[in-house]
């Protein structure tokens, strides 16, 4: 079973509980204008060219391909998308097993949308679960119900993104409707899954949605935590390097904005957490 991976990050503390390794699976059904992982939206291998790093040494003959990336001496050409066999990826991640055990952590499958490579994601989750490694699934929720059913037995917690309640706002920000997302959230809750909600707060785009999100979430059981993440635009250079149109909104969101959102969520009885101060 093979899958396409855009990156692996070890000793991660921001993607769930404990010390974790996050595996980014490539490809996403949404296209959020604020996406901070633009390299993980496309389902195919991509090559990026970081011109500020380039020495103009001529080695690549000005061709920026997966081939030339191998020989660029300063990694100004970067290939996103490495094909892994599931067992091979598991082996790589398991190098840090002792750290996971000591740090009450495990592995988080993220993306992109990890469940958009359903067979691969399920296989990974199953293998980790077999080795008694905690598996978190970081998902945007825009996935077939069937996939959720398949991954559920191997999942210790879902990190579930909620971006907006108003379908028009959701469409404007992500390119897709959110009915499936909200439905799936209710489904997971009904199944008794452990869920942590994550809200990327982008002032001017979805900050006005916070009260509605709060109202939605307060009636959904099984949500252990709602974390508000502060939007930043650090990904700008990657958009450019990938030759993608930079859709990033200006970084106007402040820590105070995050706290305001947290307060609103908390006032509805939710266990809201400030992503700036908590990690």
């Amino acid at each position: 079973m093979k899958g396409l991976v855009s990156g692996i990050k070890r000793m991660e503390i921001h993607d769930g509980d404990g010390l974790r390794t996050t595996v980014f699976l490539k490809g996403c059904p949404l296209k959020c204008i604020w996406c901070h992982n633009p390299e993980s939206i496309s389902f195919s291998v991509q090559t990026a060219y970081f011109k500020e790093k380039c020495l103009h040494c001529g080695t690549c003959g000005d061709k920026h391909t997966a081939e030339t990336a191998l020989s660029c001496p300063v990694n100004a050409i970067v290939t996103y998308g490495t094909e892994y066999e599931a067992y091979e990826l598991v082996e790589t991640v398991m190098q840090d097993e002792a750290f996971f055990r000591a740090g009450n952590g495990g592995v988080t499958l993220s993306g992109g949308e990890c469940l958009a490579q359903p067979d691969f994601a399920v296989e990974l989750a199953r293998l980790f679960h077999e080795k008694r490694i905690s598996v978190y699934i970081d998902t945007c929720g825009f996935v077939p119900r069937e996939t959720l059913k398949r991954i559920l037995p191997y999942t210790d917690k879902f990190l579930y993104d909620v971006k907006a309640v108003d379908p028009a706002v959701h469409r404007a920000c992500t390119g897709q409707d959110n009915a499936i997302i909200i439905d799936n959230l209710r489904f997971l809750s009904k199944m008794g899954a452990a869920i942590e909600i994550r809200i990327p707060l982008v002032v001017g785009y979805n900050d006005m949605e916070i009260p509605a999100i709060a109202d939605l979430l307060k009636d959904i059981p099984c949500i252990s935590k709602v974390k508000v993440l502060k939007y930043h635009n650090f990904a700008a250079s990657r958009y450019e390097a990938l030759g993608m149109e930079n859709t990033l909104p200006p970084a106007l969101t402040t820590s105070e904005d995050v706290q305001k959102a947290v307060d609103i969520l908390a006032s509805r009885g939710l266990n809201a957490v400030n992503g700036v101060t908590s990690d």
Binding site: R10, I13, G18, P73, N75, Q95, R101, A102, N104, D279
Partner: protein, 692 residues
């Protein structure tokens, strides 16, 4: 230097005999006594425990004079080129010691003086021994006179608490917490400023002070400890002044107690620069004190070193030291561990692994000077293993040379330095009736070798293996020509090697094996090798700030390092080579045998502040520590770096006068670094941030 200091120095220099026949024990005792009786005593307003004296630095000058007088005996010109090129280095070391603190605190200066009498009475008529007792008795009598003088001065200035304490110490052992703390500082002065033997640890303060703490009025303790720690810090010791917390007793019980927590809390509050903490972690150390210390690191107090108690003990036992001595070890200086009763001479011999590889490649000829300093060879290495064996042969040769140079100094310690005040704290010195240095009277009169540049050498070997023997993209001769030319015109290849080749620190066994084999070979050669003092050599792998000097004398290396650039730090990856993040870095280091480096093997782990933020950040940090120690690590230190702060501090040093970073073996003020070093730190923090 004040006029009075100058006068002290002039008189001291007149007391010395430059004939080469000097009776160093006698003349050092005379010097100690002269200084004790004649130094000027002042009572700084701010001090609570101890007066100040003006004889600082005089002893260093004495040692320097002795060195020049003895130079023709203790230096062999045949080794001058190799020493100058820093392929190896061998010298004396009177700088890394721990007093036997239990006895100092138990007995006080007064009691130490009385104890000498008992040993003297038991020793029979051996004239050599009797002379030793006589000499050190004279010094201790002078020390008691000095304390009385200090007490009087304090009393004259209306400092009753200090005067009462000192008065008591002229006639008895410390009886209160105040007097115990006063004894620590007092003894420190005596050994450092009068004996001229650098003291590099205050010992396990939590265990040492516990009996006094139990009797003390708890309400006044926190302030007293804070005053103590700040007063210690104001001494501005050469390098740093460490103390330790924790460890285990002979039965394996963990020694963390109520006072350990209080001392850690005090340390966090004290805002000191010079004082450093070694936390000795056993299997039973309460997790909360470890977390508390890591939290302190995270908040910018980066002068805490975390050591694996079990592994230290094991490494000392493997040297043949008795369990009860090994358990009761001390950490002198940065990370060097010595058993109870051991003089480690931890910084005598150094050798440069990166330069040894240069020797293997260039037939023992120094790339920078063209001089023959290593072993010659025919330059033919059909397989990588052939080259690797040649590298190990050059390593062994460099170690041998360094040891030879150290031996020359150490067998002539009698020409250089005696330590009467220090010696009287060692039971073995009293039993043997001889000075710790002149007579090598310690129970374990040991010496040490440090190998520097492990990652640089390993990465270079890995690069040669790939380029020449696997990919066959270059012949060895072509590569040698490139190195000779300092990579000139080969920037693409150089950067490719630097940025794309496998490196030590990436958790890759194939590369790490090269480092492991190097360390195993070093350990086999060094550990247990007899020295000239009746003791043995011990291995360490730390490079501290020597790496700059050693690097500046090492030609271009195959890992992409340019000629003259620094070699790698301690046991860590080459800066920037930990491409797979912190856990991989630790896996590589823990793969080395942590039981064979009693002289210290430390990794400095750079973490970006964002990677350790919040509750989970502390959890991850703690997990990284425990896992590293579990997997076989010896000792670890964290640098929590924040790029923005460092950048601001570089541009505007006045605004960040207290920002500390750990440069090497000790923490330094960021503002005191050279521009080059500052830039390295900023780059390191950026790279830590990248993987964060």
């Amino acid at each position: 230097m004040t006029l009075h200091q100058k006068e002290l120095l002039d008189n001291v220099l007149k007391m010395m005999d430059y004939s080469g026949e000097e009776d160093v024990l006698k003349s050092d005792c005379d010097i100690d006594i002269y200084l004790l009786d004649n130094c000027e005593i002042t009572v700084p307003e701010i001090n609570r425990f101890m007066v100040a004296v003006d004889c600082r630095a005089i002893r260093e000058i004495v040692l320097r004079e002795r060195f020049y007088a003895a130079k023709s005996t203790i230096r062999d010109p045949a080794y001058a080129d190799g020493m100058a090129a820093k392929l190896y280095f061998g010298t004396y070391d009177f700088g890394h010691t721990s007093a036997c603190w239990e006895d100092v605190i138990d007995l006080g200066i007064y009691g130490l003086r009385q104890r000498i009498d008992r040993y003297r009475d038991r020793a029979g008529n051996d004239p050599h021994k009797q002379r030793f007792y006589r000499e050190i008795t004279r010094v201790y009598d002078a020390a008691l006179r000095f304390i009385a003088r200090a007490a009087k001065k304090a009393r004259d200035e209306g400092r009753t608490e200090m005067a009462d304490g000192l008065d008591h110490l002229t006639k008895g052992a410390p009886s209160t917490l105040y007097e115990a703390l006063q004894t620590v500082i007092l003894y420190y002065y005596l050994q450092q400023y009068f004996d001229g033997t650098l003291l590099r640890t205050l010992g396990r303060l939590d265990t040492l002070l516990l009996p006094f703490y139990k009797k003390a009025d708890k309400a006044i303790v926190p302030q007293m400890l804070l005053d103590f720690m700040q007063e210690i810090d104001r001494i501005r010791a050469a390098a740093n002044m460490p103390f330790a917390l924790g460890g285990t007793d002979e039965q394996g019980n963990d020694l963390i107690n109520e006072l350990s927590y209080l001392l850690l809390e005090t340390y966090r509050k004290a805002g000191t620069n010079c004082t450093k903490l070694h936390l000795l972690i056993s299997k039973n150390t309460p997790r909360d004190i470890v977390e508390n210390a890591l939290d302190a690191v995270r908040e910018g107090n980066n002068s805490i070193v975390f050591m694996d108690d079990g592994r230290v003990i094991k490494s000392l036992e493997l040297l043949g030291e008795e369990h009860r001595d090994a358990v009761n070890y001390h950490v002198v200086g940065c990370y060097e561990c010595g058993a109870n009763g051991e003089i480690t001479c931890s910084c005598g011999t150094r050798m440069n692994l990166a330069k040894a590889l240069e020797m293997a490649l260039f037939s023992g000829v120094d790339l920078l000077t063209g001089k023959q300093i290593g072993l010659a060879n025919d330059g033919v290495f059909p397989t990588f293993d052939d080259l690797f064996s040649e590298y190990l042969r050059q390593v062994k040769y460099a170690v041998d040379c360094g040891i030879y140079c150290t031996d020359l100094c150490e067998e002539n310690y009698g020409m250089l330095h005696a330590a009467p005040i220090f010696s009287a704290t060692y039971v073995s010195a009293l039993e043997n009736g001889g000075d710790l240095y002149c007579d090598h009277s310690a129970k374990y009169p040991n010496s040490s070798v440090d190998a520097i540049g492990l990652a640089t050498a390993t990465d270079s070997l890995a690069a040669i293996r790939k380029l020449v023997y696997e990919d066959k993209s270059l012949t060895l001769d072509e590569l040698k020509a490139i190195l000779k030319n300092n990579w000139e015109g080969q920037e693409v290849l150089r950067l490719t090697v630097k940025n794309k080749f496998p490196k030590y620190g990436m958790g890759d066994k194939k590369t790490d094996d090269l480092a492991k084999k190097t360390v195993d070979a070093l350990a086999a050669q060094v550990n247990g090798h007899p020295n000239k003092k009746g003791g043995i050599y011990r291995l360490g792998l730390f490079s501290i700030d020597w790496r700059w000097k050693f690097g500046s004398l090492t030609g271009a290396s195959a890992d992409g390092r340019l000629s003259g650039e620094t070699v790698s730090q301690n046991t860590g990856a080459t800066f920037g080579a930990d491409r797979n993040g912190a856990t991989a870095h630790l896996l590589s280091v823990a793969y080395l045998d942590g039981t064979r480096t009693p002289n210290g093997a430390i990794v400095d782990l750079d973490l970006h502040s964002s990677a350790v933020r919040g509750e989970n950040g502390l959890n991850a940090m703690t997990a990284s520590l425990y896992t590293f120690l579990d997997l076989g690590g010896f000792c670890i230190h964290y640098n929590v770096l924040d790029t923005e702060t460092l950048k601001k501090a570089k541009d505007n040093p006045e605004a960040y006068p207290n920002l500390q970073v750990r440069l090497c073996g000790w923490n330094v003020l960021f503002s005191s670094l050279s521009e080059k070093e500052k830039e390295e730190f900023i780059a390191r923090s950026e790279s830590a941030g990248m993987s964060a």
